[in-house]
């Protein structure tokens, strides 16, 4: 296969539609007779529901129906557990999945209590005021440490505690390692991730055709096939009777997967009852509580090292804020647990976590999915150890990197894909060296920093390393079909939220079939167009669906060559497939177009031979045996105002290895976006809850997403260690940018303000000018 497009910075097929306002997003779906839903959500985090009186709301003109949990009858039930706990010995897991509407108890602010259906969203919101809810307010569980104390309230009364899960994983023998250590260092770390806050919120439109007995659901989900399967099951329909369409989705980042959100579960049920289509669009205020979060962990972590700074072992005990329900199992804390090992040789590891129920919104993966927390701990431990041992922070990392001949590298503990954590390939030291070179590490430390410091400017540098497990199974599939006009149609089961699938997948097809990228149209996210699949999450789209597309394209290529060789009566090796035709090598005037081959493949007479199929199409699946491991290094130079403690990023470098790259333009975009979210997480975004579980800053005026003035220009470079786990050698890249930014910024601010001299350590994320000020003051008082 000649690679013309694979690896090239091809501009995107999908852009024109988006740039001219013609792309269909969920709220663009208009149907005759469309009704609108508004959800009454609890303002209170924890309560027993005494009664909900909707009678006044029903009287309001324009209101068609109002539903509470009791109205759902048998349809009301806790949702499925989406991800079982991995098979870890001794695991404790208390399954408590969420419900479509609160019944008997409310367990977090934002939990839906009732649904109003009206002729317009405006009218539906008016009617929300007419609903009277009688609640017995209960103490809210908000703090993960207090949640485990005796006498505290229980989020799930029947459980007798707030323990959602308890997991202990080990590798080697930490106690032995610590006994031999020259230095052991222990600290408490707090890492809070935030909310995904895509610019488009969620939405669902459901349409029931009673005569055809067919349900169509438009949904901003990242996993349309799962939603289709679950809805069909819940509604008592065959899977073929339900079509789920994920249209253009304005950013996913993780939380647009939850099967099923209350709105996804209830709107189709309502559509069947009212026999009118119904739409719900989440407003921004709702989004803060109604879409899942990723929040905080508290780690008590310890590292044992020898005199040269080689890691002998790490021990960590952490608490994870799970939120009120745990439908997503343990993906986030397991990722934290596993990713803490990083790119380093850590012979002994002892990690325990307790996932804690709180009266707050459910926690599910958000770009990074818990990896941030683990990376923060190990990177900060290494910085602290470097300082204690008098070793340069970049050198301590270098000493401990897994060497290039150690792959596949076994980390033994169980990962989110249920298999022992294994890094398939990687070569870490050159990535570190390149990052140091690009940031100008030597020159900065030896020349620029001293010079600027002499001028009274506070500038500092940070380096952080990480690995990222990507591209996990179970599988994805793709159907590639050449059409009679010579263009190619592709369908796959995942959805798209901006990652450029319409282009990157087309590049794969274009190379295999010798067509133009613009002659390949991709359909994603429509369960009628492709039946099977999992979804976009865990940085797996390119790896898994991309490889499925490749397999299907390969199969089609073989068919085309076979058909052509039959037609020309020559050997397949003598043929070349390019520019939309198959021709004999060296005799370009002897060619058959792909379109013609399609017609030949579906003859009006003759026979389609046994063992073959009509048409020039193929459906193939790809399921990787395990996830593949990408890695990277970020480096930053910052300046901090010594009076206001505000931070400005002067230079930002990313060197990244995600194996073979399909489209470097798209890849760079993913990294830029990830870093921007990482910077937001590190220094700007913070969910502020009060002790009653109320979110105090539920607006974009007070939940601070970074703008073009906060995000710097980034310089990128790439290394490539192809993955041996898939034919294309691809590793995932979607989350990478977001993962190491927390420890990077903490390290750089510490350096800029020379905090080590004041014995002030930045052991928490998010930071802010005010928080840095407070930590320095606390240090001064000590």
């Amino acid at each position: 296969m000649t690679t013309r497009f694979f690896g090239a910075p091809v501009k995107r097929n999908e852009d024109r539609k988006l740039l001219t306002g013609q792309a269909m997003f969920i709220d663009d779906v208009e149907l005759p007779g469309l009704l609108h839903a508004a959800f009454l959500r609890s303002q209170v985090a924890h309560a027993r529901i005494r009664s909900i009186d909707v009678s006044e709301a029903l009287k309001r003109p324009g209101v068609v129906a109002v539903y509470t949990a009791n109205d759902l009858g048998d349809y009301w039930r806790p949702g499925p557990l989406l991800v079982s706990p991995p098979p870890i010995p001794g695991i404790v897991f208390n399954e408590r999945t969420h419900v479509p509407l609160a019944k008997d108890f409310v367990r977090c602010a934002g939990e839906p209590l009732a649904i109003v259906v009206a002729e317009s969203r405006y009218l539906a919101e008016d009617a929300l005021d007419d609903i009277f809810v009688d609640l017995d307010i209960l103490p809210a569980v908000v703090d993960v440490e207090k949640a485990l104390q005796k006498g505290t309230a229980h989020v799930h009364a029947d459980l007798g505690s707030n323990v959602a899960a308890h997991v202990h994983q080990t590798k080697g023998d930490y106690a032995k390692a610590a006994a031999k250590a020259h230095l052991t260092l222990k600290r408490r770390f707090r890492y809070e991730h935030g909310i995904s806050s895509p610019i488009e919120t969620r939405g669902v439109v459901a349409q029931w055709d009673a005569r055809a007995e067919h349900m169509t659901v438009w949904d901003t989900t990242q996993a349309p096939v799962f939603v289709r399967n679950l809805l069909a099951g819940a509604l008592g329909l065959g899977e073929g009777q339900v079509r789920v369409i994920a249209p253009f989705v304005g950013g996913g980042f993780g939380p647009k997967i939850l099967m099923l959100y209350p709105e996804e579960a209830t709107l189709p049920w309502i559509a069947m009852r009212l026999k009118r289509p119904i739409k719900w669009i989440e407003d921004r205020f709702e989004h803060f509580v109604a879409t899942t979060h990723e929040r905080g962990q508290i780690h008590d972590a310890e590292i044992a090292l020898d005199r040269d700074g080689r890691i002998l072992g790490v021990k960590d005990v952490f608490l994870h804020d799970n939120g009120a329900y745990n439908p997503y199992g343990l993906t986030v804390p397991i990722n934290s647990q596993c990713t803490m090992l990083g790119p380093y040789v850590i012979p002994a590891y002892d990690s325990t976590f307790t996932s804690v129920f709180t009266n707050l919104t459910i926690v599910t993966p958000y770009r990074g999915a818990g990896r941030q927390h683990g990376v923060f701990v190990i990177e900060r431990l290494l910085d602290l150890a470097a300082h204690e041992l008098g070793i340069d922070p970049t050198e301590i990392r270098r000493h401990n990197l897994i060497p290039p001949d150690a792959f596949p590298y076994q980390n033994e503990i169980i990962y989110q894909d249920f298999a022992p954590l294994q890094y398939d390939s990687g070569n870490y030291e050159p990535v570190l060296d390149r990052a140091l070179e690009m940031i100008g590490h030597k020159t900065f430390i030896n020349e620029e920093q001293p010079k600027l410091r002499a001028q009274g400017r506070c500038v500092g540098i940070g380096i952080a390393c990480y690995v990222e497990g990507t591209g996990i199974g179970p599988y994805e599939g793709a159907k590639v079909q050449v059409r009679a006009n010579g263009k190619v149609s592709v369908a796959t089961g995942i959805g798209t939220q901006g990652q450029g699938h319409f282009t990157s997948f087309a590049q794969i097809v274009a190379d295999q079939l010798g067509v133009k990228v613009t002659d390949v149209d991709i359909v994603t996210g429509d369960t009628d167009r492709f039946y099977w699949g999992a979804g976009t999450f865990a940085s797996r789209g390119a790896v898994v669906a991309g490889n499925a597309v490749n397999e299907a394209s390969l199969a089609v290529r073989k068919k085309a060559l076979k058909l052509a060789s039959d037609a020309f009566e020559c050997a397949e090796e003598d043929l070349v497939l390019a520019d939309g035709s198959v021709s004999i090598t060296g005799i370009p005037e002897k060619f058959i177009s792909l379109g013609e081959l399609v017609l030949r493949a579906n003859p009006m007479r003759g026979a389609v031979q046994p063992g073959t199929e009509p048409g020039l199409e193929s459906t193939q699946y790809f399921g990787p045996a395990s996830g593949t491991t990408a890695n990277g290094v970020h480096a930053v130079i910052v300046e901090v105002d010594p009076s206001t403690y505000d931070m400005k990023i002067l230079k930002y470098v990313v060197v990244h290895d995600c194996g073979t790259v399909i489209n470097p333009l798209i890849l760079a975009g993913q990294i830029h976006g990830g870093v921007a979210q990482g910077i937001g997480n590190a220094f700007y975004e913070k969910l502020a809850f009060d002790e009653h579980g109320q979110l105090l800053n539920a607006s974009l005026a007070d939940y601070l997403l970074p703008t073009a003035l906060e995000i710097p220009r980034m310089e990128l470079d790439h290394a490539t260690t192809p993955s041996p786990l898939n034919p294309l050698g691809i590793k995932g890249a979607g989350e990478a940018g977001a993962i190491p930014v927390g420890p990077l910024i903490a390290q750089a601010i510490e350096d800029a303000l020379q905090l080590k001299r004041k014995k002030v350590e930045l052991l928490e994320i998010p930071l802010s000018p005010s928080r840095v000020f407070e930590l320095i003051r606390e240090g001064d008082k000590r």
Binding site: R121, Y122, E125, D126, D283, R284, F285, S643, T644, D646, Y684, K686, A688, L696, N697, S699, A701, D702, L704, P706, T707, L709, E710, S768, P769, S770, F773, E774, R777
Partner: protein, 291 residues
């Protein structure tokens, strides 16, 4: 986030607007730029029964200049102020403050009258108008009255506007001798509400000695806070760094910020002092250099 229903009337004249306001009292709100009102209506925090749209009253949008004062019609949009070079030269505090107000899209609609009537204590222009000793002209069917800025801002999001009154005009006295003004703020992102902001005006005599200082803060109280008294020690001096630093400390001792989700009270206190020093230094330099 759709607003609750309301009756909408487009005012055909100022008298029409005022008589409607007199009729409906606090049930009615004036719709000018709407950049504070409409978000609060979309959140359903504000639910006026009547909106009186005054955007057509072009006589209320004006920038007038005389020897002694600048008169701004309340309906003057921030963007119009930003485009008026003469105005910005005459009122450098506005030149400093305007770019901090949200973003250009907001400034294309928002008005100074709306901003001052809304009286958000973290907003820049209330502190600026307090520093300038601006006079507010309030109108109603009952007539007209004028208020000093210090009497206009009475509490959190509260002014002395009576239920039937409209802020119609803001009069800004112009300084006589050499004067320099400077506004600075600290916010998390450009355009956000200030965590603390300071407006400083330093007046000098012909010899360059300080004759008067105006110093106000935003973001550190329920209203803009006048801390001019802390700078009395600068009068008669040449505003040395040491003297200014003493004022900084006095400002920090005087104010009582409450803290918020973005900053602790102590951080606000600290930064207000830092800004006071920086703003006074710059105001003094500008006065020395003839602005």
């Amino acid at each position: 986030m759709k607003p609750a229903p309301f009756r909408y009337v487009r005012a055909s004249s100022l008298d029409h607007a005022l008589s409607l306001k007199a009729e409906y009292g606090d049930e009615a709100r004036f719709l000018a730029g709407g950049q504070s009102l409409i978000p609060s209506m979309n959140f359903r925090l504000a639910r006026p029964s009547v909106l009186i749209d005054i955007n057509g009253l072009s006589e209320l949008a004006s920038i007038g200049r005389s020897e002694r004062q600048v008169r701004l019609g309340a309906l003057t949009r921030y963007a119009a102020l930003e485009r008026d070079g003469d105005f910005l030269s005459a009122c450098p505090l506005f030149a400093d403050a305007l770019p901090h107000i949200a973003h250009p899209q907001i400034r294309n609609r928002g008005t100074i009258g709306g901003n001052l009537s809304h009286a958000d204590p973290a907003s820049e222009l209330p502190a600026v108008s307090l520093a300038l000793k601006a006079r507010m002209k309030l109108r109603s069917v009952r007539g007209e009255r004028e208020l000093e800025a210090s009497d206009f801002f009475v509490g959190l999001l509260t002014t002395d506007l009576q239920d039937d009154e409209m802020l119609a005009e803001i009069a800004i006295p112009l300084p006589s001798g050499p004067t320099g003004g400077c506004f600075m703020e600290v916010a998390r992102r450009q355009g956000d509400f200030a965590l603390a902001g300071v407006a400083a005006i330093v007046s000098l005599d012909a010899e360059g000695s300080c004759t008067d200082v105006r110093l106000t803060c935003c973001g550190v109280g329920d209203t803009p806070v006048d801390v001019s008294a802390t700078a009395v020690s600068l009068i008669g001096t040449r505003c040395s760094a040491h003297a200014i630093d003493a004022v900084r400390a006095e400002v920090q001792r005087t104010i009582s910020p409450a803290g918020n989700v973005h900053a602790s009270a102590d951080y606000q206190r600290h930064v207000a002092g830092v800004l006071a020093a920086r703003a006074l230094r710059t105001a003094y330099e500008r006065a020395r250099n003839g602005n």
